[in-house]
Structures are given as C-alpha cells and as structure tokens.
Amino acid sequence: MRFISRYTFVLFIPLLVWGFASCKEEPLGDVEAISGLGGDVVVPTAIDNWLMDSITVPYNIAFKYRWDQFEFNDVSKTLVPPDEQKIIPLAKVVRSAWIKPYIDQVGLVFFNKYSPKFFVLSGSVQYLSNGAVVLGQAEGGRKIVVFDVNNFITKQEAGYVPARDSAVVKEFVHTLQHEFAHILHQNILYPVEFKTVTAGLFQGENWINVSNTEARQDGFITAYASSGFDDDFVETVSIMLIEGKAGWEAILNAIPEGVSANGTSKADAVAKLRRKEALVVSYFKTAWGIDFYELQARSRAALQPLL
C-alpha cells in the first residue's frame, strides 16, 4: 500500500505540473493572421520597385505615398493622396538636390546616419483656418511630410511654368535642407554666440505677421527665422544652401536702406547676417568637418537645373 501510494505521487505530481505548464506553453495561435499586422500588404508596382532600388536600399529612406490618414498630424484636415505620376519625379529631386550634394561632400555613412528616414506624401496642400497653407512638416528628425505633391513639376517635365512652379520646387528643397539642419544641431549644438547675434529682436509666434523683408531689416534671413533660436539657425543654413553664395549676397544687398521698425540700420542688419554666416561656416567645420562653402556650391549647383 505504501509503495503504491508513493508510486502514485511520483507518477502524478509530474503529470499535474505538466498539465499546468502545458497551457502556458500553448502557441499564441495564428499571429500572422492578425489583419494589418506589420503594415498593409499591396502588390508592388513599378513605382514601388523604383523607390526600393533607388532610395530605400541605398539611403535607408522610405516613401509612403499610399493614403494613410494617421500619418498626418491633424486628422480633421481635408487632404488627398498624391498622383502616382508625381512620385518618381519628386523622389529624383530629393536624391539629386539634397542627398547627392551631402554625399559628395561628406560621404554616404554620414548622410545615412543622420538623414530623416521616412517621407509621407500628400497630394494637396493643407489649408489652415487663417487661409494660409502648409507645404511641409517634419517630426522628430525622422519623418518629413510633404504636401502639394500634385502640383510638383520640374523644369524637365512638360507643362512647367517657371513663375508658378519653380517656387514649389525651391520651397520643397528648402524644407529638406531646413529639417536636415535641425537634425544636425540636435546632435551637436551650434555655437551659443549664434543666439546672441540678434538678441532682443526675435518675434516668437508673431513671425507670421512679419514679412521676409522686415525680418531681413532686423538681421533674420526669413520671417520664420525670427521665430526662435533653432529656426533662426536652420533657416540661415537652408537659405544659404538653396540660394548659393551669389543668391545670399543678393539678398543681403537688397535689404532696404533706412532703419527697421525695431531700430536696426541696414549696416547693422547686414553685419548681423554676416556674423551668422561666419558662425554657420565655423560650426560646419568644427562640428562636422564640412567645408560649408563647398557644400553650398554643390547644393546650389544641384538645385539650379530644376528651377
């Protein structure tokens, strides 16, 4: 009897334990069958293959052009997806006017390490309640939202009207350079002196009521630059890159004579912008080992044929 009793315990206790354990070890089920898990699956088109081969594989950048409402900040806004015909021309501009100058100057490793990785495209602009429109947005150094893709047209395409279309292309490249400059200074901060050059003249949220000309009279390269320190820095960088040396000089020379509403003289405004220029150049040299004037020449040369 005693023997039997021992036997049963030896036999059944493991069985019991196994019984409990077996339920815990049960497979999770058909995980792969959860609808939409891992993203939507669509049959790749020629455009998808081109993007994969030309942008995603070499630069680790994805383009999302199929409609997904939740990639856009404000779901209450009416937007439309882009026309497929616009995707490759746009991606080619990204490659030629922004990626290539940086890679030629600094190399693929630098670029792939810091570049934003995700582009989301909208066919239309985003209208704001005050009648203004949004052309581009960037989030967290990773994602760039590009609006108005359906009106994007470069010089090489039929139906290009310079007065209307060149501004769209230029503004687009401006956005790219602007956001990338943000990423750079978020990794290594620009010289503190930069914040003091136009101290006391920043407009903050009021920048939307300031024209570019008024901003330049105070030593800011654009109205948006007057909104804060960081945007002042990246606007200075991006305008220098898209306008080139000659364009930059032309902007400085075009600052009207006289004194601004805030009491800045033309000579003072030009001196402030020159100081910012010098600080940008030295920042790129010391922080990243980049010859800024060479990069500027490359960037402008790459943009020129598209305008």
Binding site: L16, D30, A33, S35, V42, T45, W67, D68, P81
Partner: protein, 436 residues
C-alpha cells in the same frame, strides 16, 4: 486501491479544466479569421465582377457624380468619371486597398478621379478651399449580403454615400468605347439662346430647366392653370442622362434621357425620354408667368435695405457677360460685381458696378433708375432718372444700362429665397442672375 486513485484523478481533471478553459466563443473562428474572411469576400466581390462596377457618389457639397470602376486583384483600379469631359473619355489607373479599420474599409489610396471631388483645392473642383466638394475616398462597407450585385459604401470623413452596382457586359463595352463622354452632348442644352426651353411628352408640354453646376433638372408643367414642378439630381451614364429620382406623371415615367443628339447649326438638342424621341424647343415666355415675382424680388431687397448682386452681368444671345462688365476698371480698382439697389435714394434706385480698391469695396458711379413699373402681366420695366458720380460716356457700363432700359421689360424667375433670374420679356434671349 481504486478509491485511493480517484481524488488524484479528479484533481488532475479539475486542473486541466480550469487552466485550459479555452475561449468557447459562439463563433467557430477567431475575430481575426472572420475579419480576414470578410475582407477576402469583399475583395473577390469587387475584383470578381467580370464587367466592373457602376458607381454613383453624393458629395456633401451637393451634386451627383457617376463613375465606372474596374477593380483588379492586384490593388489596381481603373476608372471613368462624369466629372468632366476628359475624365469621361480617358481611363485612369490608380491604387486601392481593403483594410480593417473600425469596419472593413475600401481605400482609394492614390490620386484618381474620385479624389478630384474630395480635393481641398477649390481650383480643382470649384469647392471651398480646405473642403473641396466634401467628398470621400476612404469608405466603409455597409453589409448587404442579400444582394451581391450592389454595394453601399459610406465615406469615413464626410459620410459621402457611394453606391456600386455591377455593370453588364454591354455597359462595360460602352464605357470603354467612350460612350460616357458622348453623353456630355446633353450639356449643349446650355447653348440654347432662350432662357425658356420646352419638351412635349405624351401630348403634355413641359418646361425644362437644367442647372449644370448643381446637376439638377427641373420639369414644370400646368395642371389646369396651376403650376406643378419636379426637380431631380442627374448624372451622366454610358447611355445618356440618368435621373436619381424617376419622374412619374400619370402614365409617363422618365428615368433619364438616352440617344442624345445635338445639332450645332440649328442649336437643337434631341433625346429619347419614356420611349418617345423628342426635341427641345425654344420658348420666349414661361409656361405660366409668375405675376408677383417682380414685386417680390424688388421688395425682398427693399425691406432689408440691401441690394441684389450679379458678378457676371447679362447673358445675351448665347454670350456670357455680353456687355463685358468684368473688364471694367477705375484707376487701380478692379471690377467685383454689379448691383441693383432698390430704394438707394428717396425716389430712385441704384444700378452700377462695385469695384475693389485696396481690399475695400468702392462705388464710383451709379445709374439712378426710377422706382420700376410692375405690369399686370408680370413684367418689370426700368427707366432712368439720371446718374450719380462720373458716369462713363461709353463702354460696358453704358451698354448694360441701355439694355436694362431699352427692352420691353423683364420676367423674374425665383430660384430660391435669395436668388432670382431676370429674363428679357422681348425674346428671353437675355438674362441676368441676381443673388442677395
């Protein structure tokens, strides 16, 4: 010995029951399996239709638009749309996908003719900037298991209704042949010189009015001496024009117009309605004149001390803005609209162009018609008392004034509380649209 075993067996059984209690759902499959099956069903329903689908969409801003879709099983869709002549004649391919959102959804995920309606840019579709025509391109399926030949979808953003009906082989051939574009000859009805147009159906005369922007057709007829009217939205199809609401009057039922023909030299439109082939005829007068309309029009503005506005001036003999008032300028100020202001002065009205100068409205000169005469047969007659400001001695302002005074008066056709058309009583070949 047996007794000894039992409690242990029981314990073992109990443990097994408790721990392995599986979700004994009322369904045989998991929610994911059922969702995937539903999506697959909709996918095969869409791409399995051998001759595609006819679609009709009702955007929030009004109007009705028709489409023809051919869904492939590779996320590609080809469509035609009756939004314009080009989209009716040229197929466009774009992308779509089915997705489990809150409910099974159909998303047209790259730009297509469907997105033209939803585009927030007013320059694309004539809607308000920021809204477009309040249409959709992301839809949820409304379950309709009883009728696999029809699908109703509701837009996610604007709740636009899109109804899909399986097309026949004949229809598929017609769309690919460009018959949808051919139906657009119906829009030539806008080229008739007279404001009033009539058709005769089964011996009864009907006045037909077509609003091509709102896409409505209004039929007006007399029952004895009372006026009856019927308005329906319409869209273009591969066979002609289709009514959203069929017109029924006694034994006559009209679902639309087919076999539409247009004679450019005679400016004559013909079509088949209710099995009868007929021709649209010009008319110089309404079927029944609304005798009180001129007074209503005049007093509506007078009572509120406001004025009637027309941006386009007179349409005359088939020409929009025949007097070219849109070309008026005054210094740097440019033309905005023409106004008629009842009771502008103590015994006179105001009629003249309003300009925009430096973002503000400006009135530089006015014609001063006396209080108009309202005749017993429902016409309004204008005559001038003088002018205010420096009135031009030539050009559009003079020509439009002469037309206002020179003819034998106007009929007023009330379209809504705030809109009237003022039609020349001479021959009905000149009219102006007033809104308040």
């Amino acid at each position: 010995m047996k007794n000894y075993y039992n409690p242990i067996f029981l314990l073992c059984l109990l443990a097994g029951l408790m721990s392995c209690e599986k979700e004994d759902s009322v369904f045989e499959q998991t929610a994911d399996e059922r969702l995937n099956a539903t999506l697959a069903d909709y996918q095969s329903q869409l791409s399995g239709a051998p001759y595609g689908w006819k679609g009709v969409i009702y955007p929030g801003a009004g109007g009705v638009y028709s489409f023809y879709f051919e869904f492939g099983d590779n996320n590609r869709v080809t469509m035609y749309s009756d939004f314009g002549l080009e989209s009716a004649a040229t197929p466009k391919e774009s992308s779509y996908r089915l997705k489990a959102m809150q409910t099974p959804s159909l998303i047209f995920d790259t730009y297509s003719y469907l997105h033209v309606l939803a585009d927030p840019s007013g320059s694309v579709n004539g809607g308000e900037n920021g809204d477009g025509l309040k249409s959709d391109y992301e839809f949820s399926f409304q379950p309709n298991p009883d009728n696999p030949d029809e699908l109703t979808l509701i837009g996610t953003k604007n709740q636009t209704r899109l109804v899909l009906i399986k097309a026949t082989q004949e229809e598929a051939v017609a769309y690919d042949r460009g018959d949808l574009a051919k139906s657009f000859v119906f829009s030539n009805i806008g080229k008739y010189l007279t404001y009033f147009k009539r058709i005769t159906l089964e011996g009864k005369e009907y006045e037909i009015a077509v609003n091509q922007i709102a896409r409505t057709i209004t039929l007006t007829w007399l029952e004895g001496s009372t006026v009856s009217s019927f308005t329906t939205a319409y869209y273009y199809s591969s066979t002609g024009v289709s009514f959203i609401t069929p017109f029924v009057n006694g034994s006559v039922t009209v679902n639309g117009f087919s076999n539409i023909t247009w004679d450019e030299t005679k400016l004559s439109l013909g079509f088949t309605a209710a099995g009868t082939s007929l021709v649209v005829k010009e008319a110089a007068k309404p079927l029944k004149v609304d005798v009180d309309a001129p007074k209503r029009w005049y007093n509506a503005a007078l009572a509120e001390d406001t004025y009637w506005v027309s941006e386009t001036g007179f349409h005359l003999n088939g020409v929009d803005d025949a007097f070219n008032v849109n070309s008026l300028t005054n210094g740097t100020a440019y033309y905005y609209f023409y106004l008629y202001w009842p009771g502008y002065g103590p015994n006179y009205d105001g009629f003249g162009p309003v300009f925009v100068n430096d973002n503000a409205l400006a009135l530089y000169y006015l014609d001063a018609p006396g209080t108009p005469t309202f005749t017993n047969d429902g016409r309004v007659l204008f005559s001038g008392l003088g002018t205010l400001g420096t009135y031009p001695t030539s050009g559009p302002a003079l020509a439009i004034r002469d037309y206002l005074y020179g003819s034998s008066g106007f009929y007023l056709i009330q379209l809504s509380d705030t809109t009237y058309d003022m039609v020349s009583a001479d021959d009905a070949k000149g009219w102006i649209h007033w809104e308040k």
